[in-house]
Structures are given as C-alpha cells and as structure tokens.
Symmetry: C2
Subunit: 347 residues, 2 copies
C-alpha cells in the first residue's frame, strides 16, 4: 500500500543546510523504488528570516509544521543573531510547542571509529533526555540589568507529570534492550527538590519493570564514568540540562559530534517528532563542505524507525557502519560522504 511521508524540513543556519541536503539525499535513496514517498515542505527559519523580518517562529509556521508527519532539522544559531534568540525562539520553541518530551540520543562506538579514549570498551547506550522541563523552560529573569545590583535567575521546573512520562519511556526502552539496565543521572544531593522527585519517580516506575536493573549516578560522577567506563551504561534517563551536557560528552567519546544523531520525540503522536544531529550550526566551518553529514543521516534513520519503517532505518545504519569501517583517513567533502552513503543504501 503506497504511503506518503509529509516531511517538514528546517535546514536552519551554518552547516545546517549542507548536512540536511545530504540527509534528504540518503532518505530519497533508501526509499527509491519502494511504495513509500516523501513530500517535503521547506521552512525558511533561522538567521536570515530573523534578519529580514524579526521573526523566529510564528504561530502560522508552527501550525503549518504541525500538519506534517515528522520534521528534519539541521542546526540553529548564528553569530550575527544575539545568543539565545534563535535557540530559544526557534529550536526550543519547537521542542516545547510540539511536546518533544523524549529527547533520544543513542551513542554507539562503531568499529574503527577514532575515539579520544585509550580503552573505550564496548560502548552502546542511549540517553533519554527530558525535553520540555528543567532549566530549559525559560523561567527566570533579571533585575537592574547592567548595574552593580543586577540579579539574574534561571528556574528549573520539574513536574511529576513531566518526569513520570519520560522515566516511563526510558524504562520501556531499557526493557526492549538486551542488558535491561537504566541509570538515572541527576544531582539529588544538591538539587534536592528536583532530584528527589526524579528519584522517587524512578523508584516507583521501577516496580512495574522488575527485570530492569536500576542504577544512579550524580551528573559529575557520570562524566567520570563516561571517560573511564562508558560501557557500563545502557539506558540513561536524565534532566534536560544534564542530558545536554552528557550527550555532547557521549558524542565526543564515540567518534565526535559528526556522528551523533538525535530525535526529539513526542511518543504520544499528538505532534510530529523532530530529528536533528546533536551538533550545532558550526559557523566556523559553514559553507565549506567540511561538515560530516553522518549525524544527520543517522537522524534520518531514527526518523524512519519512528515512522514505523525499521527495515529502511536499518539499511541506513548498515550503510553508515560500512562507510565508517571503510574510512581511510582521507578527507571527504560533505557531499562526497552523502553520495557514498546514498550509494550504499541504494545498493
């Protein structure tokens, strides 16, 4: 039965458009000749739009994006725009408005991939980062700005509703994995209010998943494990900010952010989920075809998996794995890597 995926594409800033072009190339290649087709709508959002109109994401944009089945996003942020404007006005606004409460970030160390660690071990874990609460809510403010009496606050907001749903999702993912282990990462010895809510929630949900081994690490200790024993992790569930920090570190130890994919998932299906590389817009290398599009391509695999097309997702993962194994250290452009991956998934 023929099927059409309605895909919203937000290429964004910096290297965003370059890597997204390759992601779409591979998506088209993996679906070529099948009964699944893609209908794309490009959304011109990011620095240029903001400079031209002062807009980051209007209600109309959001309504139009919401009618799609999924979103592919490149990267957001530009040095010509004040810090925070695009991040909060566009990227985080999408994550919050579309209720992307599961920010999914797998970390796998593929064979042959260079890692800064001397003895990484067998690294294969997934971070389930909460996506709609924590210090990312935009609560807080500032008084007497620019004076010696300035005070600025940031409020981390955590609700039983918000914590429970993401913890439940993480347990379900742990249940589906062979090692069946879940690690809560927080800092409950200092952030006692939020920390104790997270902890009690994990303890409560754990009762429904008797097969899962539950572990805990403070976020500071988690960064130590990430470099001394990353193989200990299976599923990590954590707050929005801690998740931001440890997933960059996780990417660094598994070959760098050129390979790290992510999904901003609304598991309820009420809103389209959004898939994007973990890396940022990297303005320093933008426009030079130096960016590795693999993270975006792997994000396309997560997208296909999410849309119920696991076979096609697997073909992309396999293509990436064999491409990585075949890398001989010679430099390839963004387009060359995309072409190579497209050829592999088609083959």
């Amino acid at each position: 039965m023929a099927r059409t995926i309605r895909l919203a594409v937000i290429a964004g800033d910096g290297i965003g458009p370059e890597v997204v072009a390759e992601g779409i190339k591979v998506l088209d290649a993996v679906l070529a000749g099948s009964d699944v087709s893609v209908e794309r709508t490009e959304f011109e959002l990011g620095a240029k739009r903001w400079h031209d109109t002062g807009e980051t994401l209007t209600d109309e944009d959001l309504a139009a994006i919401s009618t799609h089945d999924a979103i592919l996003l490149g990267a957001v942020g530009d040095p010509t725009v004040p810090s925070g404007v695009l991040e909060r006005g566009l990227l985080l606004k999408l994550r919050f408005a579309l209720d992307h409460y599961v920010n999914l970030r797998p970390s796998v160390l593929y064979p042959g991939v260079p890692t800064p660690l001397a003895n990484p071990g067998d690294v294969d874990f997934v971070v389930v980062r909460e996506g709609t609460e924590g210090p990312y809510t935009g609560n807080g403010g500032a008084l007497r700005v620019g004076t010696p009496h300035e005070i600025a606050t940031e409020v981390s907001v955590n609700t039983a509703f918000g914590v429970e749903r993401v913890v439940r999702d993480a347990f379900a993912r742990a249940q589906a994995r062979p090692r069946k282990k879940l690690t809560l990462v927080h800092k409950h010895n200092v952030l006692v209010n939020a920390g104790h809510l997270w902890r009690r929630t994990v303890d409560a949900v754990a009762e429904e998943f008797p097969e899962i081994t539950v572990d805990y690490a403070h976020v500071d200790a988690a960064t130590i494990y990430m470099v001394t024993d990353p193989a200990r992790f299976d599923v990590i569930v954590t707050d929005n900010l801690f998740g931001d920090i440890i997933t960059d570190l996780a990417a660094a130890i598994t070959g760098g952010i050129g390979l790290a994919a992510s999904g901003n998932v609304n598991p309820d299906g009420a809103f389209p989920s959004m898939f994007e590389p973990v890396h940022g817009s990297a303005p320093d290398i933008a426009g030079k075809s130096l960016a590795d599009p693999t993270a975006t391509v792997l994000s396309v695999a997560l997208l296909l998996e999410h849309l119920g097309l696991p076979e096609q997702a697997q073909r992309i993962s396999n293509a990436v794995t064999s491409d990585i194994v075949s890398r001989d250290g010679s430099a390839r452009s963004t387009v060359e890597i995309g072409d190579a991956l497209a050829a592999r998934v088609a083959g």
Copy 2:
C-alpha cells in the same frame, strides 16, 4: 619569627577520616623543624553527629570554626543519611557561610600518570568555580509532594556582585600564569539571563586585563574539549554547577579523583578558607585503606600556598610528582601512600 597555624579539621564521612589523617601527617612532616607549627581543632561533624544529635552544623560550630586560619575537610555524605542533608546542611553551609566564592580546582596531568585519554597532550589548567551562587543556593522548593501534581523547582541565583568578584579573581590568576588565557564556560544560549550577566561581566573585566586572551565555550562543548583537546585550557571561570561537573571530568582525565585537590577560598580573608579533595566520601571503599590520600595532600599544599607558605607548598607538590613518577602499579594502602609522601617532603 615563630608562627602558629590554627587549623580546623573536619574529617567527615566515609574515606574522609582516612585521607585527612594522611594529609595531616604530610603537613606535620613538611613543617617539622621549621618555625611554623600547627594547632589543630577536630570538629566532629557528619553522619555520626547527625545520627546522635540531629545536628549538621550549629551556629556554635560555625563560630568556633571561624576563629581558625584555615580548614581541612575530608569528605561529607553517607548512605545512612538522607541525600542532601549533609551536603547542604554541612558542606555547602560551610562554603556559603564562610563566603568561599572562589572554588579553586587545578588540573595538571603529571608525567607518568595514567589517563583514560589516548593523546591527552600537555594538560595544566585551573578551574575557578563560583562557590556561593548559581543553582547551589538552595532556592526553590516543591508543592504537592508525592502526588501526581507535584512540582519541584530549583532556582539559580546570579548577582553582578557575585559574578564580578569571581571573574576578577580568575582574571588575576590568568594574569599570573604564562599562557594568560581565560575561558568562560556557561550556556548563555539557553540560560540567557544568567548567561548574559556572566558574559557581560567577563567582557567588562577583560578591559582591565588587556594581556589576557578571552575565550568562551558552552558547557556541553567544554566537555568535548575536555576529552579531545584539554591542553587548550588555561584558566576556566564558570558557575557553581557547571564547575562541579567539569572539574570531575577534569579530574578523570588527569589521573582520577584520587589526585584532584581543591580550595574553597575566601580571597578577602574575612573568613577561613577550606581545603578538600574533589572526591566524595566513597562509602563503598571506606574503612579499607583503599583511598588514595594524594588529593588531600595536594589540598594541603593549596592550603599552605594560601597561607603564604609557597616554599612548603612546593615541597609537597614536588613530593607528589616524584611519588607518582615512581609508582609501579603495585597497590599501596592509604597509609603507605601517606607515609611515602611524608618521607619525601621531610627528606
């Protein structure tokens, strides 16, 4: 001229008493035969005291501690005490009450020290972590605890006063180092209120230090640099929570938390400064003489330096360096390492 250091000793929980005993042993050894003597007062604070009396740190304790020239602390926290009680009621209460706004954490990769990194490079930086603000203030709270409608908040508080004084201290430290580089670590693209205060403050103070090269990294990116290029860092200035996280990671890449020293410094001298290893109470190895006391011994060196005894501090650093170089991988007890270091500083 004879001089007496009045030292408050808080051994604390877990491995705290074990490592503190060795720190004092080395302190006594380095001062032996000199005209500097130490007058110690032990403060029984931590899990036992709390179990016996329900007290963590009373006004009387604090007043008594405040009359000392410096504090040596082992570690605080115990699984038999609810999470947060000792951390917030004792350790953080000391840091806040004694206005330890400079939390100083040097990271040096000594020659021969095992590191998880394949190519660490020449690592020698110091993190100046703010110690009296940020998400550590204990602001925030919880409503409807234990119900499906629970909401828990944590408030990061940042003031121009608090940020400026620590930034100024960090610039002065950078000025005294050969590379003269300062990196602000924050997350100003998301935590815009606090982030912009930090950023503006760094920009303003930078004008007074024209020789310093100023750099910026988001905290997530900083964790990447920490494993891919830690040699890029010279002085890092950052917020209380980000400092907590990156200094554990920094310790991990420079030989582990068994070697990481810290000072909670009140540069104004209004209150005694407090020196402690970065590691925690490690209840799993407590009482087994398995802990490495080197971090505590190096904290004693920071203490001596702070008290204007740089020659003695240097002797301790030298002793640690040569002890580390001579390590052959055979296991030594906490006491054996302390004995070896005491012999080296005396020699």
